[in-house]
């Protein structure tokens, strides 16, 4: 492997709210290497977006970030000032958001918005910026790219806008690209196209990618590593195949039960979902947060400490149950 791009240890985000202190991200760690795709999955509200915003230095003003380690390309980015962080953002790390309809400025042309980031980080050449924009628009599958440069966002469909956002994220040849549920707001038919496009570009440009998505089918196909988040914590992480073949945490098992399995899931059949509600994250929290939704919960779960059980090859899960107890059970999802 040609090396680690991003390394994060024990990242927490705290936000003061009216009811007290909210702890939406509580001690997350991960790493991404060149050419590697890390998928973060978990229910909405579990802290995925805040985790990615924390890496980008784009947290809301009131939020507080702390981490034992945050290294990007060998540099400690925890202590970087806003100015230095801005030099990295859009240049060597870029982000694609969930809302393509509102993420482009309605007052400027596509060409202007694409060129601007290049002029900021790469070089002051309008001609070069324009060429790069046309090249990337073609890459992301936008037809007659050159003539699109003069168009405004409102003249494009949601899918096209998200393609433009992807092109924009690639303008300066980033090392790391973070895509936060890039297809949630799009038509189902376009979702798969966009995700495949991202995976393809990631391979072609050998970038590190953090992909946040609900689509476990896509995760199975594109992820190298999977990280499962629940209530601001990592409950399970590991190489994609291992996690899909032998999920250890009850929550992961529940999630995997939700994916349709070709041949076994009937058309129109309702897919399972993990029952119960997400816990409130305000104030001091202790024990396993999943215990009130867990089929295997016992009294001991309330006193559980965050000590992951490591299984080798990077697979780890945070649950009191021993590996022997779990692996004896029938597996939730078998790869067809």
């Amino acid at each position: 492997m040609s090396g680690t791009i991003l390394e994060v240890e024990n990242l927490s985000v705290d936000i003061p709210v009216a009811a007290g202190m909210l702890h939406p991200v509580r001690g997350i760690g991960f790493s991404v290497s060149r050419g590697e795709t890390l998928c973060i999955v978990g229910e909405s509200g579990c802290g995925k977006s805040l985790t990615s915003l924390a890496v980008m230095g784009l947290l809301p003003k009131t939020a507080r970030r702390s981490a034992d380690r945050m290294e990007f390309l060998g540099r400690d980015i925890r202590s970087l000032r806003e100015r230095e962080m801005a030099r990295l953002r859009g240049g060597s790390m870029s982000m694609i958001f969930q809302e393509p309809m509102t993420s482009l400025n309605p007052s400027y042309t596509i060409g202007n918005q694409l060129a601007e980031v290049y002029l900021r980080h790469v070089e002051q050449s309008r001609a070069a910026a324009r060429d790069r924009a046309v090249f990337l628009l073609e890459k992301v599958g936008i037809s007659s790219a050159a003539s699109r440069l003069g168009q405004y966002p409102h003249q494009l469909s949601g899918g096209q806008r998200q393609r433009v956002m992807i092109a924009m994220a690639l303008m300066c040849g980033p090392e790391l690209i973070i895509a936060d549920e890039p297809t949630t707001a799009l038509d189902v038919t376009i979702q798969a196209q966009i995700l495949h496009l991202l995976a393809e570009l990631q391979r072609e440009f050998r970038m590190g990618m953090i992909l946040i998505t609900h689509d476990l089918g896509i995760v199975a196909r594109v992820a190298d590593k999977v990280q499962v988040m629940y209530a601001g914590k990592t409950v399970e992480e590991g190489p994609c195949e291992t996690v899909f073949d032998a999920p250890m945490h009850p929550y992961t098992q529940g999630l995997l039960r939700c994916i349709p399995i070709p041949g076994r899931t009937q058309r129109g059949e309702r897919l399972g979902s993990v029952p119960g509600i997400v816990p409130n994250l305000v104030g001091e929290l202790s024990g396993c947060m999943f215990r009130n939704r867990c089929d295997y919960a016992s009294d001991a779960c309330a006193g559980m400490r965050d000590e992951p059980t490591r299984m080798g090859d990077g697979h780890a899960y945070t649950c009191l149950r021993a590996p022997e107890e779990i692996s004896g059970e029938p597996q939730a999802a078998e790869t067809p």
Binding site: M85, R87, G90, F97, S103, N105, P106, Y108, V117, H154
Partner: protein, 305 residues
């Protein structure tokens, strides 16, 4: 776009007809022009003769159509008091009022956009409070009182600025501030509200994610979108300011058409009043039209319609 402009122009024209018709009938009902022309000593026979001579005995709509016909060809009649052509009286003074109105709205924008932006950058901070205080003060102080205070302080005590006239640029300083300050609160609040909304928008997050400089995020990406409604409001306020110029021009004895309309109202000089009302109404209508077109230019989404 041309169809849109054409439609708007037609509506504007209709508004002008209605406004001028209303002023014409109301002013002829409220004051008897024959009495004005005849003066205090005129006998009943004189008044009757004047009515016949000027055609005041005709039905009001006939008089109006007669006036409208002439007005369309640029003939607004003659002042009852000054015995001068109304057209000449107005065109001689209109430039001063336009200059005052323009300076005042520019002053208002120059104060309210930076203040509103500063306030929006840190809502509820000290800067925000100060900006709000300045704005509220502008709304609370009656224009004439504010103008008089300036005259006392800068004109009488310190003698920095002339207190009346229209011949040098210094004559315009106090009237501009007095008139412009009045529009500042509304424009500032709208800038502040617009900036707060825009700064929280997804495309500002995108601009920051692109690592753009704070100045580029604030001015290129945020302000441009936030001032679109401010521009529209400024155009409306420009219309109000021409109306407000009646008070200000009278206080500072700056002889524009605001001053002239006050003078004409006191003397029941109806041809002058009518011409000025028509001028003010046309400003208003043209300004709203221009604001629309400017908005269409600033916001590319509008021009498609």
């Amino acid at each position: 776009m041309p169809a849109y402009t054409l439609k708007r122009t037609f509506v504007a024209f209709l508004i002008l007809i209605v406004v001028s018709g209303l002023t014409f009938s109301l002013s002829h009902l409220s004051a008897d022009p024959a009495l004005t022309i005849g003066g205090e000593q005129a006998s009943d026979e004189d008044i009757q003769a004047i009515r016949k001579l000027y055609g005041f005995d005709r039905p009001i709509h006939v008089q109006y159509l007669d006036w409208l016909g002439r007005a369309l060809s640029g003939d607004f009649g003659e002042s009852y008091h000054y015995k001068q052509r109304v057209f000449d009286m107005v065109s001689e003074r209109i430039g001063r009022t336009m200059l005052l109105g323009t300076l005042a709205i520019l002053f208002a924008l120059a104060v309210s956009i930076p203040l509103g932006t500063l306030a929006a950058m840190r809502p509820n901070s000290i800067t925000d409070r100060i900006a709000l205080f300045i704005a509220v003060l502008g709304q609370a102080l009656p224009t004439f009182w504010f103008a008089l205070m300036m005259i006392i302080v800068f004109g009488v005590w310190w003698r920095w600025l002339p207190i009346s006239g229209h011949t040098q640029w210094a004559n315009y300083v106090m009237p501009t501030i007095a008139l412009g300050y009045y529009a500042t609160p509304a424009l500032m609040r709208l800038t502040r509200a617009g900036m707060i909304e825009v700064l929280a928008s997804d495309y500002i997050r995108t601009a920051r994610a692109k690592g753009l400089s704070p100045a580029s995020v604030l001015f290129k990406h945020a302000l441009r979108n936030a001032i679109i409604p401010v521009v529209a409001l400024a155009a409306v306020w420009f219309g109000f300011m021409l109306g407000g110029s009646i008070v200000i021009e009278t206080i500072f004895n700056l002889k524009g058409i605001g001053w002239l309309s006050y003078d004409a109202l006191l003397r029941s000089d109806l041809p002058v009043v009518q011409a000025i009302v028509l001028v003010f109404a046309s400003f208003y209508v043209v300004l709203t039209l221009l604001a629309d077109l400017l908005n269409a230019y600033l916001d590319p989404r509008i021009s498609v319609r």
